[in-house]
């Protein structure tokens, strides 16, 4: 049975109908796309994006596809690379918690580019997107956690399959061609976590998007590959992981949907700090606390929080993302912990430094890893307490549609994209009724040059 994993997955993708997709999964797809577009618009003017465009532009093809949030247009393969970089550079992605895959980046970066070349409806886009995420996360499930633990950047190594599956669906591949597309994806699977902290980290995503799209384009012309790219003795699962359970890829296909397990980050920092930020923001709002009124902020946290993020004196934005002290101080000081609070300037601002010195975390084995206990003592002697059992953005307490809209607007502002955030939001929520899916990318173009 496991001999046929690749073909069975291919057949499922090829035979899937839009009517088979449950309504909540369709809506989750829109939420994922909105969240992803926000991260792309927030990152679209990042130096990594500027450099990648300047390095590769002169070798790129016709101006077929939008660079999200910018004026340049590139061929669809190059656009997939750049949009993959921009939408991952801020570390503000969605997360498939079981695998730590950020599912939308590689699939949507490829699909958005292709949708500007191959006319499809919004519903077709969402359908292909859902199937791409399904392939990507199921393959991730089959090799998790050993695959990531070894050092594979799982969003890239599994994302290439998601991009191939989604693009192959749009290109109407036959079962045979889809099988080849998954094989061509398998042989291109790559991306090392050694790259974290450098520009090549988000490049891994763009590369996966490009490679998955390439796989689908080659397979469409009957470029052959192994028909057992996933399960062959020298195929993806056995070569790239010490553990593989191929049954994860094919069990309950069409019954369960991985996209339903998608979660969204409310704060662009290490996920273990999220419940603490929630607690601080809740207290600030509930009691109208200003920073200068605070005597001490006491945190009781799971040991992992201090191990990963115990840093009382972060000196730049990257360090601030891994400082629970910074996050707590910023929450009380600014009433928000977004990309601005992780700029290189923020953690060295005198007001931040002063309040951060008043943050006192203590480890408590009894606190769950996704919970937090926050006490704020005021100079007037008042004492306020908050307990957060699950962080915002967890599956138990998901971000609401309104939360996602607010995150999106903040990211558009942060990224200096002059596109109209309200237009994009409206388009995404009605995307299943849109005739031309290419409108999605075009709506992000700065208004002066919009070609809608």
């Amino acid at each position: 049975m496991s001999e046929e994993t690749t073909r069975r997955l291919a057949r499922f993708i090829v035979e899937s109908h839009w009517r088979d997709i449950p309504k909540p999964v369709r809506h989750e797809a829109k939420r994922s796309i909105l969240n992803w577009l926000g991260t792309a618009l927030g990152g679209c003017n990042d130096p990594a994006v500027d450099i990648a465009i300047s390095a590769l532009r002169e070798f790129s093809g016709p101006q077929q596809a939008t660079i999200l949030g910018r004026r340049e247009r590139l061929d669809i393969l190059s656009a997939a690379v750049i949009n993959g970089i921009s939408s991952n550079v801020l570390d503000f992605d969605d997360t498939h918690l079981r695998t730590v895959i950020h599912p939308t980046v590689p699939v949507a970066a490829a699909l958005t580019a292709l949708s500007e070349h191959t006319p499809i409806t919004g519903a077709q886009f969402l359908h292909a997107f859902i199937l791409g995420v399904e392939a990507e996360c199921r393959i991730g499930n089959a090799v998790t956690p050993e695959h990531y633990n070894i050092g594979w950047h799982i969003t890239a190594t599994c994302g290439v399959f998601g991009a191939a599956a989604a693009c192959g669906k749009i290109l109407n591949l036959s079962e045979q061609q889809m099988t080849w597309a998954l094989g061509i994806a398998a042989t291109q699977a790559s991306g090392l976590t050694a790259m974290l902290g450098s520009m090549t980290k988000p490049y891994n995503m763009g590369h996966a998007a490009r490679n998955g799209l390439t796989a689908a384009l080659l397979a469409r012309k009957n470029f052959t590959s192994s028909e057992h790219g996933l399960e062959a003795p020298r195929g993806f699962a056995h070569v790239l992981s010490t553990r593989c359970d191929l049954n994860e890829i094919t069990a309950n296909l069409g019954t369960t949907w991985e996209l339903a397990q998608n979660a969204y980050k409310p704060y662009p920092c290490g996920i273990v700090v999220h419940p603490i930020i929630d607690g601080c923001l809740d207290l600030r709002t509930a009691h109208g606390i200003t920073a200068d009124a605070i005597e001490r902020i006491e945190l009781r946290v799971h040991p992992l929080v201090m191990k990963l993020t115990g840093n009382p004196t972060p000196q730049n934005g990257l360090q601030a993302k891994l400082s629970v002290q910074h996050c707590a101080a910023a929450a009380f000081l600014f009433g928000a912990v977004g990309v601005k609070e992780f700029s290189d300037a923020c953690p060295i601002e005198p007001a931040v430094v002063a309040l951060r010195a008043r943050v006192a975390p203590t480890v408590d084995e009894a606190i769950a890893a996704d919970a937090a206990d926050v006490v704020v003592l005021l100079k007037d002697g008042a004492r306020h307490h908050a307990f957060v059992p699950h962080a915002t953005g967890s599956l138990e307490r998901p971000m609401s549609d309104a939360d996602l809209e607010n995150k999106f607007k903040a990211l558009v502002e942060w990224g200096f994209s002059t596109c109209n955030a309200y237009d994009v939001i409206e388009l995404v929520w009605s995307f299943d009724n849109i005739n031309d899916a290419a409108a999605l990318a075009r709506t992000t173009v700065p208004s002066a040059t919009r070609t809608l």
Copy 2:
């Protein structure tokens, strides 16, 4: 010390001078290039090449670089892909025997394309090529044989470094940039041996060439990556191999040269059959033997030969490549065992079938794996014997320059390329004195459209 492997390799490449390269290594580089161009011209009209061009052309950039042996021109990155495919599709490559890397394909495919965009001399080309092969094969040495045995297509996974190093040298990268280029190469390292037997097998080569060139182009613009791409705990060597000896990468840099260990295949089939073909061809020539005079061909061979290639009734070209019986019959019948003798038509020709039935191989544990013992019994009662201690193309009995020229001419003819073989041969032997390295690619263009 091992912490600095990537940087030390980068520094060596950056600081190397042409005057440091020993003369025999320079000459071996020309031999490798001639052999490689032959394989590219032999494969340039293969269906895999046609399909890849037709699938990717509409997304490709300016017509910057030659598709070897053809009229199309594509951007340099796309040309690297296609020329990587064409030059590997016939399985007629050179081989770095210790690692079974085919060293020239990924390095030369990237470099040839870049040389049409960045003006360099023939000597600069050869120098960068030698350094690329050095990086590629040393990295292969560090992870061999576990890396290949697991299922990594080592020419692709190590070739991406070779292409990055060679192209980085041409682009005058600084030590820091070269370190990043090797890191960006590391994160793209991919290619599974599960793809053998499909079009994706040679695609692995083209993809590696493209990715290595991309790495150098990004690094030139200061796109950052891990500075420990090779040696980091979650870097290339540890993630892609259960064994790694990083010392292999940095020991004796500039003293030993991996290109000096390069070998060339005289016959496009499994290497274990080569001494048997030698023996048959020698007997045919020495005694003027014609096929209809033959009663029986007796082969004494190492057990591995029968295990890998014992097939008395091959039905197509691919099976014929793994049939010692076919190879022996073809050698006596045609006096040559080249690409023509592995067409799908050849193994089912009646004359071939008839003579093949007279081939009688027996296993002999006493015969070395690279040796063969051939006896031909004629219908008139004569008996002739040949013992071959080492095959043509082995390091002990290398193909001569004249052998390589003949192989090249046969491949040009086979590939239906109408370029002038003599022009190319002359250019390669004088390549270190050529001012414009781009002439190499241009000389392969079919004559009617040559743009020299």
